[in-house]
Symmetry: C2
């Protein structure tokens, strides 16, 4: 519980869960704009229009807050990129990557903060990123009619493709060498080309 409630910019009254979510969104934007090390918990409170005490009530430390922001960002991206089983395979991947590129356009700085994050070596952050990859890889394998462990080489290549996507996304955020549609096509074409390479070599293993 907060010990003192200091005067603060009055915002509309929110339910605790909404307030928590608003704080996380603020944190996501702030992390995109500044380095983790430069951010003070007071800045987050000020930007969200709540007292530092209240922020500590929800998040005991800056690290807790950061980990929560990363977890929520990962969760949101997974929700938005859920494959639609009714679509044929290529259209399905196109729809997924289209949702992904939309997300990149809406939250370029937040995406970069999560993936270039200064505490990226933090075990909890790693676990979140690893979970994210595992879900995405599981979806892609399912799309190809495979179970995890059935095609180790293809899984290796799918992981590599995810790294390709993240790295090119980070560069694209800074340089915008392609239109969003072209970026989506590049991701889909790269997946097709790489998975074909893997399947031609890995099917006997």
């Amino acid at each position: 519980m907060p010990e003192t409630i200091t005067p603060q910019p009055v915002r509309r009254r929110m339910a605790p869960e909404d307030r928590r979510r608003a704080l996380i969104e603020t944190g996501f934007e702030l992390l995109g704009a500044r380095h983790y090390q430069e951010i003070e918990i007071e800045d987050i409170a000020k930007m969200a229009g709540v007292s530092t005490g209240l922020l500590y009530h929800y998040f005991p430390s800056k690290r807790d807050f950061y980990v929560t922001v990363v977890r929520e960002a990962s969760h949101t991206l997974l929700q938005r990129t859920k494959p639609d089983p009714k679509l044929p395979r290529r259209a399905r991947l196109e729809a997924v990557m289209s949702a992904y590129v939309d997300y990149l356009q809406e939250h370029p700085a937040g995406f970069a903060a999560v993936h270039r994050g200064a505490i990226g070596a933090d075990p909890e952050v790693r676990a979140i990123v690893e979970d994210y990859s595992r879900v995405q890889i599981g979806r892609l394998l399912k799309d190809l009619g495979l179970k995890p462990g059935e095609q180790p080489v293809l899984e290796l290549v799918v992981r590599g493709w995810l790294a390709f996507v993240i790295e090119t996304s980070l560069r694209w955020i800074d340089e915008r060498q392609l239109t969003p549609d072209e970026l989506r096509e590049l991701f889909v074409d790269a997946a097709t080309a790489l998975f074909r390479t893997a399947l031609s070599r890995g099917s006997q293993r």
Copy 2:
């Protein structure tokens, strides 16, 4: 200068530059075996058979030591993967990736330590990794008859391919899904497939 020279296991007498190099090699092996946070500068000294004072003489802090180890590792890998201009293009890339896979086999733990390093967000470490990427990308572009900046989309894809190679290397170190020869072929095939995708889309931009 070391303040005290404590008794130590006697090793053969070495010139300062050789001793420095031996210390870096020890550090590289140690970083492969243990997490950065768990390593004490005393462990490195003990393993290398020198006094802590002498180690501090070469490296003022654990972080300095780590940064030097990463820089040397990056330098070694760049040296070993220098393309041979006398070879035709595909054979040249094969030779480069062959040298790269040889290196992975010799130093799996050290490679993983550099790329999963706990202080990977350290600005100096980032700069080293970024320099490494820039050199490798420059070489690949040169191989394709291009200068940096001439083909932004291809450069984006080359960067993505490097991320693909690093991620699959890290997984391969743990899981060995492929023989070393197959891994090298996968890298070369992936490069060919991805660069073709980029060239077909980026040539007008």
